[in-house]
């Protein structure tokens, strides 16, 4: 890996415009996912936590709720929110621990490409965990979440979550209280996503008209756009020397 770097570095520097930019994004994402697939540090924790949380929610609500459709939207999104925080703080945690973040930042590439690469890698972990979680909820709660609109909302919502989450993970990477701080920073800022996600899932599960589901998708998409726009504006400020 290390031996290849000079060659690849030359490739990164090519003034390939958009293609060159996305080659950097791909390189960072590829590196992260490959390391993760060998270490299974983030994925293992996130997956185990979400399955465990699903079981705990099952035990908590089983006898108290007449129809599980009533609580399923909340359960789905709460588990994703909390499992996500667990994974996100490791996305820069191991890099800071090993000192590889400095190496990454020294690379002669756009900082926003590093951020996008990290975001893409996190998105992969989240989607894998969600692919496990949705069938688990089907088995434990007998609720079918495999509907196109719910899945679309889940994908869009996850993109927004990962975009904010990766940025905040970078913000807290050098903070004294980073593990405990990340959820406190993230959860209130994620409120629009959470409310819309739950609203969308509930609307679809209740079998209401699809016209009631679209405004939710609209808010989630708007959130994604705003988040990426602000992230691109400020990402260079986070990794400035200080």
């Amino acid at each position: 890996m290390m031996a290849e770097l000079p060659k690849e570095g030359g490739q990164f520097r090519t003034r390939g415009g958009l293609a060159g930019y996305f080659r950097v994004v791909w390189a960072v994402a590829d590196k992260d996912v490959r390391t993760e697939l060998r270490a299974k540090e983030i994925l293992g924790t996130m997956a185990a936590f979400s399955l465990l949380a699903a079981v705990i929610f099952g035990l908590a609500f089983d006898l108290r709720v007449p129809r599980t459709e009533l609580v399923a939207p909340g359960i789905l999104w709460v588990i994703i929110m909390f499992a996500g925080v667990l994974g996100l703080h490791r996305s820069f945690g191991s890099e800071s621990d090993l000192g590889t973040l400095t190496g990454l930042l020294l690379a002669p590439v756009e900082r926003s490409a590093l951020y996008l690469g990290k975001t893409a890698a996190n998105l992969v972990y989240f989607l894998i965990v969600e692919a496990l979680l949705v069938p688990t909820l089907l088995i434990l709660f007998d609720v079918n979440l495999l509907k196109p609109l719910i899945l679309a909302g889940l994908l869009l919502g996850t993109i927004g979550y990962v975009a904010v989450g990766t940025l905040f993970a970078a913000l807290t990477a050098r903070n004294r209280a980073r593990e405990t701080l990340l959820p406190v920073l993230l959860l209130p800022v994620l409120a629009p996503l959470f409310i819309s996600g739950v609203g969308l899932t509930a609307a679809v599960l209740d079998g209401r008209a699809t016209s009631e589901a679209w405004p939710w998708i609209g808010i989630i998409a708007l959130y994604d756009i705003v988040v990426f726009a602000v992230a691109f504006l400020f990402i260079d400020l986070i990794w400035e020397q200080s």
């Binding site: 807290t172 920073l185 209130p188 994620l190 400020f234 986070i238």
Partner: protein
């Protein structure tokens, strides 16, 4: 950063600040008097609700102060990120700290009023949701600041968070508004499902204006004191650094 300017002007500015404090205190006393005694009763309400509606003046007043605080945080954060002068960061941090206190008071006064008016302390109305989430965001902002040693890093990261926070608030409001709302809209009256609302008579309007001015003055007085304190903190740090070096 121009330390000597802060120090040299401190005496003169402090006298001015004390005068300002007195004005703010007087305005608050006047607002309290008006809110409790001068303002007329709401015609359509009776019993406990009649008494409870007077909290409205303090509710709106502190709401103005909280809004000003959060506005100060946005302006201060943008100012810091563009100019890189720590003074801006002090205004942002002080705005959040003072604004959060008023924000908590908005939530508490609202809950106290809501019990007789809505027969519940709490409901997930869009305004309530947004106000709560905003207060939580700014508490997180203060916790984030706590974890950084270097004042420049702290200012930069806190500034980025404040801007994110400020942008997420309207989205929270619109997502929560897709649910049904029962919060009265006193100035518009467009919400047919609102409960516990009333329309404003002349004495009530004057009282409301006094409360808003009083709370705004109180806010600015507290804000200036906090910024002054932060300027001192920074000076102490600088002097301590000189001594140990």
């Amino acid at each position: 950063m121009n330390e000597s300017a802060v120090q040299g002007g401190a005496g003169r500015w402090f006298a001015l600040l004390l005068v300002f404090d007195a004005v703010a205190a007087f305005a608050m006393i006047a607002a309290t008097w008006a809110g409790l005694l001068y303002a007329g009763d709401a015609i359509n309400l009776g019993g406990v609700e009649q008494v409870a509606q007077r909290i409205f003046y303090f509710h709106i007043g502190s709401n103005i102060a909280a809004l000003l605080g959060f506005l100060a945080s946005l302006v201060g954060s943008l100012g810091y990120l563009f100019s890189r002068r720590l003074v801006w960061d002090w205004w942002a941090a002080a705005g959040v700290e003072v604004g959060t206190i008023f924000g908590v008071f908005v939530l508490l006064s609202g809950a106290i009023w809501a019990k007789p008016a809505w027969n519940t302390y709490w409901t997930w109305d869009p305004r309530l949701t947004t106000a709560t989430v905003t207060v939580l965001i700014y508490i997180a902002y203060m916790l984030l600041r706590n974890g950084f040693e270097n004042p420049d890093t702290r200012a930069r990261f806190a500034g980025i968070y404040a801007i994110f926070a400020f942008l997420s608030v309207p989205l929270t409001y619109y997502s929560a508004r897709l649910f049904r709302s029962i919060h009265p809209i006193v100035f518009d009256g467009a919400n047919q499902e609102a409960q516990g609302g009333f329309s404003i008579g002349p004495t009530m309007g004057q009282t409301l204006a006094m409360a808003m001015i009083g709370f705004a003055l109180l806010f600015f007085a507290l804000l200036c004191h906090r910024v002054r304190q932060m300027a001192f903190e920074s000076r102490i740090d600088a002097i301590r650094g000189e001594i140990y070096e």
